[in-house]
């Protein structure tokens, strides 16, 4: 004979609203989490790829726009020597005309005469990402020997991206915290309402020798089932959207590098279970505390 719960939960209003609320919570939570994790992943990728390369520009004209002639070649040689002797740098080479042309094509078109433009010579520097050079010191050394050299570590735009991505991460954490607090309050309210509805049954069970944990456990199991039911439904609804958006970024904007990987998927799938566990613990605590006041 199957064992039924001692408390007649089938008459509780939470039976209907709790799964729906959990579904909505998990739907929002997984979407938010996927966004935050993708932003973090993209930022890590950009950080890594940008940190791996820096450029040094040697202008061919001076401050007044006057051609510098043979000085340019000397500056290139000095800069290459400084760069190649730095232990944090794996290699440095001057970009050839064809490479420069390719770089400028998006702005000037394929047939532009780039020689007619006062474009600087660009030295592409490959950085040792494990032991990277101190950019500040490198810049100081370069300016000391090649005063017109411009070192570009791409930090300016990367810092902006870091700020944006950091903001997104904070927003994710705030939204998740709000959702968790709301879940805890909802299950707590639901448990208290149910306790009030079934106080006669609880008094009877208590009179037969049930301790607080016996009653609290039944409530917690009940809430766990309802929140899991709703939470898993929310996850099922959110996953196609997450994969759809991920596919869009991969195909339309491949540079974003924010495809959902295995670890992210595990985190997303764990979300409804984590929420259900929180609901379970909140219920245990709420019911135990309420019972001490009730009986």
């Amino acid at each position: 004979m199957a064992k039924k719960s001692d408390i007649p939960f089938s008459t509780d209003p939470s039976r209907l609203f709790l799964p729906w609320i959990s579904m909505l919570m998990i739907f929002i939570a997984t979407l938010t989490l996927a966004g935050g994790l993708s932003a973090y992943k993209a930022l890590s990728y950009w950080n890594k790829s940008v940190s791996a390369s820096i450029t040094v520009q040697i202008p061919i004209v001076d401050d007044k726009g006057k051609p510098r002639g043979e000085e340019v070649q000397n500056d290139i040689e000095k800069a290459l020597t400084i760069l190649r002797t730095n232990p944090g740098i794996l290699g440095a080479k001057v970009l050839e005309e064809t490479q420069m042309r390719r770089l400028m094509t998006p702005w000037l078109g394929e047939h532009a005469d780039i020689k007619a433009l006062p474009l600087p010579h660009v030295i592409d520097v490959t950085v040792d990402t494990i032991n990277p050079p101190n950019i500040e010191e490198l810049n100081t050394e370069l300016i000391q020997f090649v005063p017109l050299a411009v070192l570009d570590s791409h930090r300016v735009w990367l810092d902006t991206l870091i700020t944006i991505a950091g903001g997104l991460m904070k927003l994710t954490i705030i939204i998740l915290a709000l959702l968790l607090i709301t879940t805890a309050f909802t299950v707590s309210y639901s448990a208290k309402t149910s306790l009030s509805m079934h106080k006669h049954v609880i008094a009877l069970v208590h009179m037969m020798g049930a301790n607080d944990s016996y009653i609290a456990w039944q409530y917690a199991i009940r809430i766990l089932k309802l929140t899991l039911l709703g939470g898993l439904s929310g996850l099922v609804l959110a996953l196609p959207i997450i994969f759809g958006v991920g596919y869009f970024f991969e195909t339309i904007a491949g540079d974003f590098k924010c495809k959902i990987d295995a670890l992210m998927l595990i985190i997303l799938i764990s979300t409804p279970f984590a929420f259900a566990l929180l609901a379970f613990i909140s219920t245990l605590k709420t019911v135990s505390t309420a019972l001490k006041r009730m009986i």
Binding site: M1, K4, P8, H200, M207, M208, G209, K292
Partner: protein, 249 residues
Amino acid sequence: MLNETKLSAYIAEFNGVSLRYETGPEVLKDIQFTLEPGSFHFMTGESGAGKSSLLRMLYLDLLPSRGRVRLFGHAVDALSRSAKAKLRRQIGVVFQDFRLLDHLSAFDNVALPLRIAGVKENEIRRHVSEMLAWVGLEKQMKTLPPQLSGGEKQRVAIARSVINRPRILLADEPTGNVDDAMAKRLLHLFLELNKLGTTVVIATHNQPLIKHFGFPQLHLDHGRLQLIQPTNKYADMASKLFKRGDNNG
């Protein structure tokens, strides 16, 4: 708490006990009595005399406002919540309004005290089936209380109260909803339990039944308790009943 050395041989010991609800007048005044193991008492008195309050104190639902109550040798006011819960498992209670859980079958209602005590399901199945057969309800095991008659509900309530072999059985007007024949059958059922060593206290207004069985009365009058011993005639009758029960058993 329950591991304390048992200091008393009594099942229950009330010493100068008074009870008041919040700031109201005292509903029980200076109550003094003891219940010995295996004793059988009726609890009598007019409505409002304090019978239910005294029963509630006996099943640890209320604590005295004054005086001391000891149950199974333990001072109840010194017990923790979990210790009280353990003591309650040794008390069987039958309510006048049965207090069966309507969403549970007769089987699950009777099984409830065993589940609370953490008994294994296979043992529960065996004990509950035997118990329901004993009260003549083996065919109603899966029936929900709303589908049972008053007498059947009463028997389910009794089966539930005795399923875990309580040391004391408290019954509040257990015969209030049944006819005289059924009332006597139920009383015989309590006698059977009493023979097995359970202390029994039955609150009732049923004077013919009290006279018929002739056990001592804990009589309450305006909150004061008086022990009324049966007259010789009734005591003899009770003695015969016991003997007859022994022979039948």
